[in-house]
Symmetry: C2
Subunit: 386 residues, 2 copies
């Protein structure tokens, strides 16, 4: 199977390296073209800056897109599919935006568009989600989808440092980019929740998705959580019942005695629930060169070995009903922590826009509310908590 790699950055180089290693079934794979940047000196004889010439090679079977970003990734993927080349990508932003278009173009041209590496890095999350959905109507999924923000929250918990200091150490280690927006503001998680939701529920990925990141989580919040035997994790969560669903992303309080709280460093931990499979969780390297490249190789092998993925057309009409994820929150304003019962993340986002100095944490469903030392007298009543 002959492969072209578009973009020889971290992930693209990892794909090249694993295939060059020729371990086990990767012997079936061969990189025959690399699309290099025009302003970048070629390092390998197979590098080229002429994408049309690469696609014109009749021996080429598949294109690996690891350029990132929306354009030209979007048009390059469509061009490859139109040229009857399979496409495998790690690009979550372009996949979340154009998944349906890519799948339709692939089917129209008799090739595959596979995207395991977009979500969960080395964790075979999408494949296992697809397999579960062969039997079960998946009722919910949730998890830690972003390693950078998990590293920051874990560091804040272990050292007591504040967000800016933990972010700086994540940047020094190469876990966070210079502009950390996508990671710390939940945008990266949003792309992954959209892709997962599209597969789990067979619906279009552009659903409403209230998204809160971790920028407002303070050292004080972490200490407050710790005093209540809780930890803070950035969770993406989606639920479905019959023809209704909802999804949110928010910093969430979880019990210290839980898998989520024990998910360390930059690891990911993602869960699904189905009526027959029960609860299933996956833990591993959610990013990084070799784990992400490994996921791309797995997609390439599925193509080489003719392993079909679940065929989804994302055409199920579901009602997005935020009330399904209505729940309780902790609201901080200055040094005061309040308990807010029975709200949606969307309502809290609006409230926070009016109080920019305040912030809030979702209370995870595994949290024992007794541990918050709160008596909830009636629906919606706020009580100060210690």
């Amino acid at each position: 199977m002959q492969i072209a790699i578009l973009g020889l950055g971290t992930i693209g180089s990892g794909v090249y390296k694993i295939i060059a290693g020729q371990t086990n079934q990767t012997k079936k794979l061969q990189v025959t073209h690399i699309l290099a940047k025009a302003d970048h000196p070629a390092m390998l004889p197979i590098e080229s800056t002429d994408y049309d010439a690469i696609l014109a090679d009749p021996a080429l079977d598949a294109v690996v897109e690891t350029m990132g970003g929306i354009e030209p990734a979007h048009s390059y993927i469509l061009k490859a599919l139109a040229a009857h080349k399979h496409v495998v990508t790690a690009n979550k932003a372009v996949t979340a935006l154009y998944l349906r278009e890519f799948i339709e173009a692939a089917e129209a041209n008799g090739v595959h568009f596979y995207y395991e590496a977009t979500t969960g890095g080395g964790i075979p999350w999408l494949k296992n989600l697809e397999n579960a959905a062969r039997v079960d109507d998946v009722q919910s999924f949730s998890g830690i989808f972003n390693g950078t923000s998990n590293y920051i929250l874990d560091q804040m918990t272990k050292t007591g440092e504040d967000f800016d200091s933990a972010l700086a150490s994540a940047q020094a280690l190469g876990y966070a980019e210079k502009d950390p927006t996508a990671d710390v503001d939940g945008l990266d998680v949003a792309n992954k929740v959209r892709i997962s939701g599209a597969i789990a529920f067979n619906t279009a990925p552009n659903f409403a998705l209230p998204t809160v990141g971790i920028r407002h989580v303070s050292a004080q919040d972490i200490a407050w959580a710790n005093d209540h035997n809780l930890a803070i994790r950035l969770l993406g969560e989606a639920v479905r019942q019959h023809d209704r669903f909802a999804a949110v992303i928010a910093p969430t309080l979880v019990p210290q005695q839980s898998l989520e709280a024990q998910c360390p460093d930059n690891f990911n931990l993602i869960r699904l629930d189905g009526p027959t499979i029960g609860e299933l969780q996956f833990f591993g390297q959610g990013a990084g060169q070799l784990p992400t490249a490994h996921a791309i190789i797995q997609d390439l092998l599925d193509i080489a070995l003719n392993v079909p993925h679940l065929a989804r057309h994302f055409n199920r009409t579901l009602k997005n009903d935020a009330a399904m994820l209505r729940g309780d929150f902790i609201w901080r304003d200055g040094d005061t922590y309040e308990y807010l019962a029975d709200r949606t993340v969307g309502e809290l986002i609006i409230r926070q826009n009016e109080h920019p100095q305040a912030s809030f944490l979702r209370i995870g469903k595994e949290v024992n509310h007794e541990s918050l030392q709160i008596r909830r007298l009636f629906n919606g009543q706020r009580q100060s908590v210690q």
Copy 2:
């Protein structure tokens, strides 16, 4: 795809129930025969006691073996394969013993022998292990493979009760059988580690496997572990390096701040490590009617959809080298806890045979030995610990 179920016990009934539900892709499956016991009144018109007549049905595609035990399961599986019927089983004992024979018979007859449900219940462990091995030489795997013993250890930890009392509550809940030997003495884990090891390392499953269960774990041990911020879990573990490997099963000390310690109730948690995929862990229902039946259905769908599994012939010659899992232990004799450095599980088993009142715990590799308040002065020196 037409299916015969051999044995309508808990798991067989679960398979019948899921297929009868006709959800999603299970619409491709149809149960057309059930092999019933001769002394059991037939409940369904498709029940029969004539196995030869079932296999003689030319429309039959696959046999699901959920009888358990070694015979007649072994000869029934071979008979089905000889009749060119695919076989899917949940029977770990017969699979661990005859895996190579079954695979060879399946290949000789142009059909498949699939056995996902033998290991990890609803967790798609074997499939993911196989996929990882398509790219990586898996370096190690380990985990909590038995829900019954995990439930007992978790109960002992939560309530402080002793082994007999926790076993009785597991039996009352249906998590443990009347004769709990296979679960609490590590024999069930041994079958699963043999099957996993055969796939991971492509070697015959009948390798030497020092096996210790949890019968000797006392309430006092649990309290001692808790005093040192540790928990006790029954772990199976296997490692490989080049042409050498080793595997053991033993009650193991793990940090309370770890995924293993947070694996509650009767759940399983299984891990693999590979050079490119890194660390990957799977958590879920390791037993139970619907999760185990779900795993059988997944194998049936792979056959129906022509999804190939990794072809293994278990013919790699590896040296079983117990020294690779040499490590440190806590030895209890009466009220005295001692630290034993640099031993093998096999050496400890011999020592315990000479001191039947004593017991031992393996020290897991994630344990910070400082937390045991031990200074290890030189290799092999024992020190009493508090």
